[in-house]
Amino acid sequence: MARATTESKMPLSPTTGEPMSTIARRSIGALWAFIVMDVSGTLALIISYSYLWALNVNDAWAPPGAKLDAAQTDETLPKASDVTFAPEWPFWAIFAGVVVATIFMWFAYKRLVAGHKGEAIAAATFSLLLSGALLVAQVVQIISFEFKTSQGAYASAVYALTASNVVHLTLVCFLLIGIVNRTHMGLINPVVAYQARMMSIWMTWISIAFLLGAVCTTLMLESPNTDPAVFGTFNVS
């Protein structure tokens, strides 16, 4: 009886006539399926990074300047290359920013469900602005990498992971604009709040993706394979 009473207050979908709670269940189900897809894709990148890091094929994992070389450490000789691993702090800073943005989105959802539309919009807007700033920061980080794409497998893998971050953040920004606008218009409201919930869940996954990337790019730098097989070297004698 209580359930029927709750569902009797639930608006109906204008297209199918079903209760919005039914639409919400389906949409959240679909979101989890999309997250599974994205997990696979992210794992493909993480596997690529880890695999190449572990193999260190042709001793070409690290950027040229990162390899320990007597010539590199001898101050009297010109450095073979200054190009080394990317600084670690930006990865963690961006990850931290994503976490904060996610927390604000959850806060926005909770306040909306509690009936405080103004606070919900404010929190979601902050999350949007922060995500936008993080997107810019991520692009700046990519532009400022010292290494080129052709300078080792590490460089390639880092570019791929950070490019994935850019795609994720772009999608997050697009969705947050929609969330803020629709909340403002009343389309997302305390009774029909599932889209805000979906956004919060999605951003939680994005935070995990950023974490995985940050772990790889900061804790997995020097390859453990210090005596790699060398392929394709031709000696002309």
């Binding site: 109906l12 009936g115 080792g152 606008n181 009774v191």
Partner: protein
């Protein structure tokens, strides 16, 4: 499947009864501009208009312009136009921006690569805009909700034949669109197959140059793989599954349309690759060879990147639809086996396709951006490519096999008029295949030297997967046993499927053994094996499914005489082609080569003759489909006397499928099992019980 009389005149759930009583109250609240939001002072911005949706009054959002909005003006024509214009425009821009004389690391000119890739991007973006794929996201962003009138327009109501050339959301329309697109892809791949067999049959001369032959091989492979993935999941999965589970449509109709049109975009990318050097490295396009191939490789990569999105979106849609939209009373035990097959295939597609997609993204990045994922000299690894590729590559074959096998199991109770031999074993087979499919991929890599110590665990897992596959064959054979067979065209396809699957399965076990694979790897034996599985089981199963569901999908009966002649002609040709190919492989003929020793001539002549017989058979079958579709005998609603829900709808199927959503009370395969609701049966049963009680006393 017994359908109990629904409890309401319109909806069968208590929820709906409650909703319909309060529907007018909701509408009144909406008219006052709020729906439980008084404390915020906001509302859903309702227009005050109310529409009757399946008998219930439902408040509507504001209607912006005519129903359908911008989509009224968009169709396949606008998509082709905008796609072509943007392809040319992007290509022109790329040409202007590329430095003259720029080359890549292998000294190949970069301009053709950039121009072609830019053209592909332009085509993809332009076609998507032109067909209306972005209408949904933009509407959502701007808060312009769809009204019921919009939804009906999008579903193609009153649009006649034009709905097949638009971004139509009705699952039945999408199913037909998929059928046509899949048949076009099959025809394209089949034509290439004829060219391959021509080259291999003409053993005294070279018909094509090696590079053209290689590109025919590679394009044929990927075209057929794509066609086979789509041929059952697309037409039958889309058209039939919602009706089979008692739903009005898929969970996300607009995503359904998106998956179809992305498939069309991908198909054009693939065909275009033939004109810029083709795909010369087989369908698996191993690195680093693929990195050195002509620009056509970019077409392949773009095809896969887009097709993976299409398949992923379709998988999400199918999974949510099957999980959450089954009719009341349709417990898992009462769910048709075809739904299980499609569900299993969708799950595999969901987790596995991103690996394939990313393998191509990274390969494209190596080509265009000079990264080194797969370039050993710069720290990359070709084994990484192979692992990423085969992580999908093997589940993919089960994405092809499961739906066609499940169709076979779906048909058999209908035409043998007895329950499925063991529904539980069939489920176990499907679950086993899905579970193990992700654990066998490296049996494609025994000879790569990747991880020799891993060869034997993968050998074990590969041999283990033959068990659940075997369950499915055994259930089929058990269902035939002591059944009263009604021999119609779909049943003939079952025989063909079972025969081919047994041969393909057994030869797969040979190949799963590392020592045998050491000899057989890269030979025509492997080619014959996977053709027996993917074509012999996959395609013949699909033909059976199409023959079975043809009356419901088209409203016409398929010409059985012509269809049977086509099927058996193709079957005979198939045995000749691939039986001879086994012999060639055992003799030692390698695959993907156009010049070979005279030792293999006889096998190749026989295979080529067989291939042309297949071509003839398929043309006859295709002709039967087309002629029956145009002028075949009108089909009754349930020509096969099936108990499943999709056959309880009228033909042609109305837009909403069911006027009243059904309630399911029994299994779908209880042919010959007394109907528990049959009044006479109940009375007889009571009388028997009384008699038994008297005797006991």
């Amino acid at each position: 499947m017994t359908i109990a009389p629904p409890r309401t005149t319109r909806r069968s759930s208590t929820t709906s009864r409650t909703s319909s009583r309060t529907g007018s109250a909701d509408a009144a609240r909406a008219n006052r501009g709020g729906a439980g939001l008084k404390q915020d002072g906001g509302g859903r911005g309702g227009s005050g208009a109310v529409a009757r949706v399946f008998g219930n009054p439902v408040p509507q959002p504001p209607q912006h312009g005519k129903p359908g909005g911008l989509l009224r003006h968009l169709n396949l024509g606008t998509a082709l136009l905008l796609g072509s214009v943007m392809a040319l425009g992007f290509g022109y821009l790329a040409n202007r921006l590329t430095k003259s004389g720029a080359t890549d690391a292998t000294f190949a000119p970069l301009a053709p690569e950039y121009i072609y890739l830019a053209g592909l991007f332009g085509w993809t973006l332009g076609f998507s805009i032109g067909i209306g794929a972005f209408d949904g996201p933009v509407r959502w962003l701007l808060g312009r909700e769809l009204t019921h009138a919009d939804a009906e327009y999008l579903a193609g109501k009153n649009l006649g034949w034009q709905r097949y050339f638009k971004y139509t959301t009705d699952h039945k329309v999408v199913g037909i669109q998929y059928l046509v697109a899949a048949m076009v892809t099959l025809g394209f791949g089949g034509l290439l197959a004829m060219l391959i067999r021509t080259e291999l049959g003409v053993t005294w001369a070279e018909v094509f140059t090696p590079s053209i032959y290689n590109s025919i091989i590679g394009t044929h492979g990927i075209a057929m793989i794509i066609a086979m993935i789509v041929i059952v999941m697309g037409p039958v999965g889309n058209f039939i599954v919602p009706m089979m589970i008692g739903a009005r449509d898929m969970a996300f109709p607009r995503l359904n349309a998106l998956s179809l049109w992305l498939f069309v975009i991908a198909l054009v990318c693939l065909i275009s690759s033939l004109f810029v050097g083709g795909v010369q490295d087989g369908w698996s396009v191993y690195q680093p060879l693929a990195a050195q191939s002509p620009p056509g490789m970019l077409g392949y990569q773009m095809t896969i990147i887009i097709f993976a999105i299409s398949t992923g979106v379709a998988s999400v849609n199918l999974i949510v639809t099957i999980l959450l939209m089954r009719a009341k009373g349709m417990t898992w035990v009462r769910t048709p086996i075809f739904v299980y097959g499609v569900f299993g295939a969708a799950i595999m597609g969901l987790y596995a396709f991103p690996f394939y997609q990313y393998s191509q993204l990274l390969a494209m990045s190596d080509r265009i951006l000079d990264t080194s994922f797969f370039v050993p000299l710069q720290g990359g690894s070709v084994w990484l490519y192979e692992n990423l590729f085969w992580l999908l590559g093997h589940p993919e074959v089960y994405v092809i096999l499961l739906p066609s096998t499940a169709i076979m199991l779906e048909l058999m109770p209908v035409f043998y008029r007895k329950p499925l031999f063991s529904f539980n074993f069939a489920i176990a087979g499907i679950v086993g295949v899905v579970a193990l499919s992700g654990l066998v991929w490296a049996h494609h890599m025994y000879m790569t030297g990747w991880a020799p110590s891993a060869n034997y665990p993968f050998m074990l897992s590969t041999e283990l997967i033959s068990i659940p596959v075997g369950f499915l064959v055994l259930v089929a054979i058990g269902t035939m046993w002591r059944g009263t067979v009604w021999t119609r065209l779909p049943v003939m396809a079952i025989y063909a499927l079972v025969f081919n699957k047994i041969i393909g399965g057994i030869t797969g076990i040979y190949l799963s053994d590392v020592p045998v694979d050491q000899y057989m790897h890269g030979s025509m034996f492997v080619v014959a094996h996977f053709h027996y599985m993917l074509m012999g089981a996959g395609l013949f199963g699909a033909m059976g499914g199409i023959a079975y569901f043809f009356p419901k999908m088209t409203g016409r009966m398929l010409d059985e005489r012509a269809g049977s002649i086509g099927l058996w002609t193709a079957f005979a040709g198939f045995q000749l082609t691939f039986g001879s190919m086994f012999v060639a492989g055992l003799q030692g003929q390698p695959r993907r080569v156009l010049q070979f020793d005279d030792l293999f001539n006889i096998s190749n002549w026989l295979s080529t003759i067989g291939a042309f017989v297949i071509g003839l058979g398929m043309l006859i079958f295709m002709g039967a489909i087309i002629s029956s579709w145009i002028a075949g005998k009108k089909a009754p609603a349930n020509p096969w006397g099936s108990k499943s829900l999709e056959w309880q709808t009228p033909t042609p199927v109305p837009l909403e499928n069911f006027e009243v959503l059904p309630v399911v009370t029994s299994r779908p395969y209880d042919y010959g099992v007394p109907d528990p609701y049959d009044a006479k049966m109940l009375a007889d049963e009571k009388a028997r019980e009384k008699q038994t009680a008297k005797v006991a006393v």
